[in-house]
């Protein structure tokens, strides 16, 4: 937040944010409308919801759905991506099918899944699985195919069998592409779960958001939006950190 650069504090970078929040506070008080609460009221509502455990309850449910769907979807996507990236036969056989399914927006599956799965936990988890699977599939394929064939030749001549080449050469060199997919989808997963909760699930941050809308509680809406921003940002930062840990020394 504060760091020294050439001996000067970089707190100056926070001035625009401060001005924005100040403007919001003053402007909202001047307008005095329930549709535009001041920043201080939003903070107060955040504290209240946190203290009462309401925020934690809904956030936990959303988080579990995101993590469950994202982990399953991205793992499956990466594994399938490795298979299709390494095998021309698998790629030619399966890519027509994936090409048909991929363009369907994740939320487009909602009506069908509501009928097949009902309003259960499986519904949002499946939606997030779908929205995570395809990007990780294609990013992994791209990563595998980006590996210079000369590195594979070098590994062969050094005596490495195919499984060692896959494990110690191809996958590590494909990691930057895989992490790009993970970072992008970390945010997308939250957007998908919120949309599903707003439409079909009575719990979670999305449900809290839509309930606040029906009660014209704009302060609660702002709290939910802030939480969502934090979660998406946090997810992306986690993957950035992990990527740097695994590839920073050589990338």
């Amino acid at each position: 937040m504060f760091s020294k650069k050439d001996g000067r504090l970089t707190w100056a970078y926070w001035i625009p944010t401060f001005l924005f929040l100040s403007g919001w506070e003053v402007g909202a008080r001047l307008i005095a409308s329930p549709l535009f609460p001041p920043f201080s009221k939003v903070i107060a509502e955040f504290v209240y919801l946190a203290r009462e455990g309401i925020l934690l309850k809904h956030l936990t449910l959303s988080l579990l759905r995101v993590v469950g769907g994202f982990v399953l979807g991205s793992l499956t996507g990466v594994v399938m991506g490795i298979i299709l990236g390494c095998s021309n036969l698998a790629y030619k056989s399966l890519s027509p099918l994936f090409s048909i399914l991929y363009p369907i927006p994740a939320l487009g599956w909602l009506p069908l899944l509501m009928l097949w799965l009902g309003l259960s936990e499986a519904l949002p988890v499946t939606l997030i699985f779908i929205c995570s699977f395809f990007p990780l599939l294609y990013n992994t394929i791209a990563g595998i195919r980006s590996v210079n064939p000369k590195y594979i030749q070098t590994a062969r001549v050094l005596g490495a069998p195919p499984w060692l080449i896959l494990h110690h050469v191809i996958i590590p060199l494909a990691l930057p592409y895989i992490f790009t997919g993970l970072r992008l989808e970390a945010g997308m997963a939250w957007r998908t779960v919120v949309a599903a909760e707003m439409i079909a699930i009575p719990t979670g941050i999305g449900a809290l958001l839509i309930n606040a809308e029906s009660l014209i509680r704009v302060d609660i809406i702002f709290v939910c939006l802030f939480i969502l921003s934090l979660m998406s940002f946090g997810g992306e930062r986690i993957f950035l950190w992990l990527e740097h840990k695994l590839t920073g020394a050589w990338k």
Binding site: N148, K150, Y151, Q153, T154, A155, R156, V157, L158, G159, A160, P161, L164, H168, V169, P172, L173, L175, T247, A249, W250, K251
Partner: protein, 352 residues
């Protein structure tokens, strides 16, 4: 028993029925212009390309063996150090791949690092290495696995002149010390002459000539003269030793100081067209090995011009860079000064 025998090796687009034997422990240089098929031949030996014909390592026919089973060390032109592994793990990769035990691996790595003087680079990643350091690490990676054959594809082509010269000497010394059968690809004449026990010249996918460096450069056959120009040969009428390692040779009206260690009679002096300097400007004094002449004929090439120069009754071929020829406006009839590079004058005592 040769270390490697190639019988009627042909590839789809490149090589045409190459027969070649490489002796145990020798350093054979594959010399030829770009696109001749030198790298393809290395890839055939490594098992990385499809080919027709037969490849033997000693008595063992290896055509059906995949690259990972051929026990060769191959340093590619671009080296291809694994970017995601530090130097230690780059070297360890081959050892793990070949099933060396975890207890054995650190010792082997330490020995080869010491041999190539790269112990201080242990934890560095390839992106933080200089050109020469990368070269040494690439060599260490293949030497660690103790290959039976070493293949080097223009390993020094990306390095500056002085570093390449230093590493060339190190490679030669290592190869001798380890008695490792080595094939070295280059298109550089000086490099080939410095390194080779024998040279195999490949031109347009065919084996043009195989022999000792002296034989190749002093008596290039018709098949390879388009790539290796014949040297200028001056018959010595008489000569006298004038000091340790020095003689004065009389070749008609030309009198040259030449390197001379004594021994058999000095019969001829050979010098390559690219080892004679040519200029319209008088060279600085003293006037040793420097003569005035006249250009009789020019034959332009892609990067150089071959000039036929009449000097004291001799007709010499001199190779001049195109840029120099343009700057000095060299043409037929131009009076020029030529300088014989002392160190490149080759004294011949016999008939080749």
């Amino acid at each position: 028993m040769p270390a490697i025998t190639l019988k009627k090796i042909s590839t789809k687009f490149c090589l045409k029925e190459i027969d070649l034997e490489i002796k145990e422990g020798e350093l054979l240089v594959l010399l030829g212009p770009t696109g001749a098929g030198k790298t393809t031949l290395l890839n055939v030996i490594a098992g990385l390309v499809e080919y027709e014909g037969e490849v033997y390592f000693g008595e063992e026919k290896v055509d059906l063996l995949p690259p990972e089973k051929r026990q060769i060390g191959y340093v590619f032109q671009e080296l291809y150090l694994f970017p995601h592994l530090d130097v230690y793990h780059n070297i360890a990769f081959g050892l793990k791949a070949r099933g060396f035990s975890p207890a054995e691996i650190p010792g082997r790595i330490s020995r080869v690092m010491e041999l190539l003087n790269i112990g201080h680079l242990r934890s560095r990643y390839p992106r933080n290495l200089s050109g020469g350091e990368k070269q040494r690490v690439a060599l260490a990676r293949v030497l660690a696995i103790e290959p039976r054959i070493l293949l080097l594809d223009e390993p020094l082509s990306n390095l500056d002149y002085s570093l390449a010269k230093l590493l060339r000497l190190e490679i030669k010394e290592l190869q001798r010390r380890l008695s490792l059968t080595t094939l070295y690809v280059t298109h550089n004449f000086s490099e080939a002459r410095e390194l080779a026990d024998r040279i195999a010249v490949i031109v347009e996918g065919e084996l043009g000539q195989v022999g000792a460096p002296e034989e190749i450069f002093l008596r290039p056959g018709a098949k390879i003269q388009g790539f290796i120009p014949p040297p200028n040969l001056l018959t010595v009428d008489r000569y006298e030793a004038i000091g340790p390692g020095l003689a004065r040779a009389h070749c008609g009206k030309l009198v040259l100081l030449v390197p001379w260690e004594g021994g058999d009679s000095l019969r001829e002096i050979a010098i390559m067209p690219y080892d004679i300097s040519l200029s319209i400007y008088p060279p600085p004094a003293p006037g040793i090995n420097k003569y005035k002449g006249r250009i009789i004929k020019t034959s332009p090439g892609r990067y150089t011009i071959q000039c036929q120069v009449e000097v004291e009754g001799h007709l010499l071929t001199v190779e001049v860079p195109c840029l120099t020829a343009e700057e000095q406006r060299l043409e037929v009839g131009s009076p020029v000064w030529i300088n014989f590079n002392f160190r490149k004058l080759k004294t011949l005592t016999g008939v080749y």
